[in-house]
Subunit: 348 residues, 2 copies
Amino acid sequence: MAKSVTLKDVAAKVGVTSAAASMALSGHERISERTRAAVKRAADELGYVPSSAGRALRSQRADAVALIVPNSSAHVFGHLYFMHVLTGMSTAANAHDAQVIVSTNADTSSGDVAYERVMRSRTADGAIVTSAAVDDDHVQALVASGLPAVLIGNYPHLADAVTVGIDDVRATERLVDHLVEVHGRRRLVHVTGTLDHRTGLDRRRGFLAAAERHGLTDVTVIEGDLSEASGAAATEQLLQASGARPDGVVFANDDMAVGGLHTLRRAGVDVPGDVAVVGFDDFGLARVTTPGITTIRVPAEEMGRIATERLFDLVDHRGGQPARTELPVELVVRASCGCEPDAERVRT
Amino acid sequence: MAKSVTLKDVAAKVGVTSAAASMALSGHERISERTRAAVKRAADELGYVPSSAGRALRSQRADAVALIVPNSSAHVFGHLYFMHVLTGMSTAANAHDAQVIVSTNADTSSGDVAYERVMRSRTADGAIVTSAAVDDDHVQALVASGLPAVLIGNYPHLADAVTVGIDDVRATERLVDHLVEVHGRRRLVHVTGTLDHRTGLDRRRGFLAAAERHGLTDVTVIEGDLSEASGAAATEQLLQASGARPDGVVFANDDMAVGGLHTLRRAGVDVPGDVAVVGFDDFGLARVTTPGITTIRVPAEEMGRIATERLFDLVDHRGGQPARTELPVELVVRASCGCEPDAERVRT
DNA sequence: CTGAAAGCGCTTACAG
DNA sequence: CTGAAAGCGCTTACAG
């Protein structure tokens, strides 16, 4: 393997000290235009690229940000979600000439948590934490440690945290409003997300609040875990139940809605004719099913981008930023709620 | 922000030199058991974590691997693909206590390519490059530079490259074989992927080879770009065409198959009754459509994992590894080809 | 104005 | 056997 080119090599080629070469490359005014040009040319010719380790050690800055993926969430939240967040992060990180590190907890067993190591080792200047469980003490510890971190989601119990998220309560209410007001559905079911995550709790709260506001009396809540299988299982349970069949199901995410949709279809239930179905997320699945699933579009990429910008504010000690950034969501209307097929509409 | 704890702090607390503390923590035998224990305790108490920059600079090793995502591919290949690869990489990297860096080209305009910078700056010890275009000179340069790199895909023109991939030709042949032999389809269409990528060329080659082998005479090839929209457009074109309608369409990926499926449905064409549809990838979409899409399952996660293991072989100078690793794929039979619904079967 | 030392944090090769 | 210097590559504060 080719020995890597250092500043010393560049300096030697031009006949200056490496200190001078460093200043020349950074455009320091004390270096003459002539020398500056010579050094830059030599650097180009030799293919010099600064060592990130050398620079990081000297400047006490890694020029990298980390995306922390708690092990629990890998299964719970989908691939598509993380990729959207990662895309947004990359956009912001590129603009700051910073690298993006993806840090997954190796395993739960070792109490040794990815968060802390990444941060304390200064591999990254700061971290984005997403989809952490409500009772995740490590997140709390991270926030308390004062290391730069931005949380994606809603963490009302962490007063000091800088967070970027959406209003899950209000968004879920909008789904219920749509089913009740536009489609006259009144026997609604909610299949929840994981209830150790704030999104799960908030979406349930939104469902119940809207149901009460509309005076719905025939309302059921079934606990799910965000997986397609749990959506199918919950739906199976509904089909078995005695009493009047519900005329609408509000799934806490699209994956479960897909499972529910397929289960209903297999049982010969017409969607949306007999039962309307709505989901949450719109990361990709909801558009491709038949019927397409009416859902809330979560701006995951934008969340990743904005969270990363907030993170750089923290790293660079730019104060005056709001602790909480709440992004608007869109109601995406497709056919599964009873709206016309082929007429996808978006409402902000 | 809390000042970070260095080895010197740990050493001072115990009353030894930082050199001794370093050896104690690495379990060097020249340090007495007593001192070793004392240092470890002190490190724990202070929350010491080694500085990655210090260690990297000294050991000339970043303990990190990079996933290179050429800007062109971000659109072309799906989010799901990259996430699968990333998941596999993380598994392998975690086992080696290495970080994973995701490097996206900021933009094409600057000829300055992500590959080189990441590698030459020693931010990462090696790189995984995936889904590069056939004529991407930078990949060629990277391989030629001798820096550790593993390519995912098939690069027959790069003799020196270490690659991990599947046999796209053979896999596509299996799809055609299935349509012809099991379902008696003979008027087949192929909608290609991007033809500046090897996968696109190979899948087309497989389609044509199988068609010829079966003596099919009514065969059409339409160029696509892997997007759902291009699948829809190609299908639209088929519907407009005069002459006998095809009875089977082999899409080069699932995204296009989804687009095709919806277009056929909207035109009132029965799938699979009138036209059988098959895709390629099985990263998530093919399972949720109605009918489910028969496809080839590409083991993207395993590709990411194995590529990363090969990469560590390279970084650690472990020779004797094959230059090419070819993974088997599965034919996943769903309803879109005419097989029974609800009877998903996998054939290796 | 400019030359070159100091030091970021680490680990190993060397001197004693 | 053990103490402590040297040096990885970089940049800035300091000495001249």
